[in-house]
C-alpha cells in the first residue's frame, strides 16, 4: 500500500513537472522574444527532463496490475 501511494506521488510529481514544463514551452512558442528562447530551453526543458526522469523512476519498481 505504501509503495503504491509512493508510486502515485511520484507519478503525480512527474505529471506536474511535465505539465508545467509543457505549459511554459507553449507560452514561449507564442511569446516570440530572445528571453522566451532562454526560458523555453532552461526552464521548460529542465522541468520536462525532471518529469521524464521521475516518471521512469516511478515505473522502474512498479508491478503491473491486470485490467
Amino acid at each position: 500500500m505504501l509503495s503504491t501511494s509512493l508510486s502515485e506521488r511520484r507519478l503525480r510529481f512527474a505529471g506536474i513537472c511535465l505539465a508545467t514544463g509543457l505549459l511554459i514551452e507553449a507560452l514561449c512558442l507564442i511569446w516570440a522574444t530572445p528571453i522566451a528562447f532562454i526560458i523555453f530551453v532552461a526552464i521548460g526543458g529542465l522541468l520536462i527532463f525532471i518529469g521524464l526522469v521521475v516518471y521512469l523512476y516511478s515505473q522502474a519498481g512498479t508491478a503491473v496490475v491486470p485490467d
Binding site: 503525480r12 512527474a14 505529471g15 505549459l23 522574444t33 530572445p34 521524464l52 503491473v64
Partner: protein, 210 residues
C-alpha cells in the same frame, strides 16, 4: 506568427492538458492499458513536443526580426537599409544576396562543422549579457573572432562575378590568398564598410522592400 508555430503550440498545450489530467488521477495508470497510455502521454508526447518546439525556436532564432528585437541591434538593422550600393550589408540585404528573413544569420553563422551550434552559443551569451550584464554601445560591439572568408565564399565561391572580377584578378596572388583566408575580404580598401554605424546619421535610407 506562422501557422506551423501556432499548431505546435496547440499540440504542446494539448499534451500539457493530457499530462495534467493523468497527474490529477494517477489511479488511471494502474492497469496495463493505463500504463501504455501513461507511457505515451508522459514519455513519448513530452519528448516529441519538446523536440518539435525546440526545432521551431531554433528556426525562429535565425530570423532577422529575432536578432533585431534587441535594442542594441537597432542600428545594425538600420544599416541594412542604407541607400548605398557599396555598403556591404545593405547591398546584400537589398539585392537579396542573402534571404531577407535570415539576413543576420546568413552572414554571421559559421559554415563549418558545428558552426551553427557555436554561433547559437554566442547568441546565448548575447542574451545573457543583454539581460544580466552591461551591454556595450552598438558601435563598440566586436566580433568574437576575425571574420572568416569562408562565410563569404560559401555563396561567392565559383560565382562568375567573384572569380572573374577585375579587382580580384588584378594581381594573380589575390584570389588564392582570399580563398585560403590569408587576405580578408573585409581588408582596408576592399569590402571594408561592414555596417559602418559611425556614419548612419548622415546616411540616406532605401524606402523600398517590405
Amino acid at each position: 506568427m506562422p501557422l506551423a508555430t501556432i499548431l505546435i503550440a496547440c499540440l504542446v498545450l494539448f499534451s500539457a492538458v493530457v499530462v495534467g489530467v493523468l497527474a490529477a488521477r494517477p489511479d488511471f495508470m494502474a492497469g496495463r492499458g493505463g500504463k501504455i497510455l501513461a507511457f505515451i502521454a508522459m514519455f513519448c508526447l513530452p519528448i516529441f513536443c519538446g523536440l518539435l518546439g525546440f526545432s521551431s525556436e531554433m528556426g525562429r532564432s535565425k530570423t532577422t526580426a529575432f536578432c533585431l528585437s534587441c535594442h542594441t541591434m537597432e542600428d545594425y538593422g538600420k544599416s541594412l537599409l542604407v541607400d548605398d550600393p557599396t555598403h556591404l550589408p545593405a547591398s546584400h540585404f537589398q539585392n537579396r544576396r542573402v534571404p531577407t528573413d535570415e539576413a543576420c544569420y546568413s552572414c554571421h553563422t559559421q559554415y563549418a562543422m558545428f558552426g551553427g551550434l557555436k554561433v547559437k552559443l554566442y547568441g546565448l551569451k548575447h542574451v545573457f549579457i543583454y539581460y544580466l550584464g552591461t551591454p556595450p554601445a552598438p558601435q563598440d560591439i566586436k566580433l568574437y573572432e576575425p571574420y572568416n572568408n569562408r562565410e563569404c565564399l560559401h555563396c561567392h565561391l565559383g560565382a562568375r562575378s567573384f572569380e572573374e572580377g577585375a579587382t580580384h584578378n588584378a594581381d594573380p596572388a589575390t584570389l588564392p590568398a582570399m580563398k585560403s583566408n590569408q587576405l580578408s575580404c573585409l581588408s582596408t580598401g576592399c569590402h571594408d564598410s561592414a555596417h559602418d554605424l559611425a556614419h548612419l546619421k548622415e546616411a540616406t535610407y532605401w524606402k523600398g522592400g517590405n
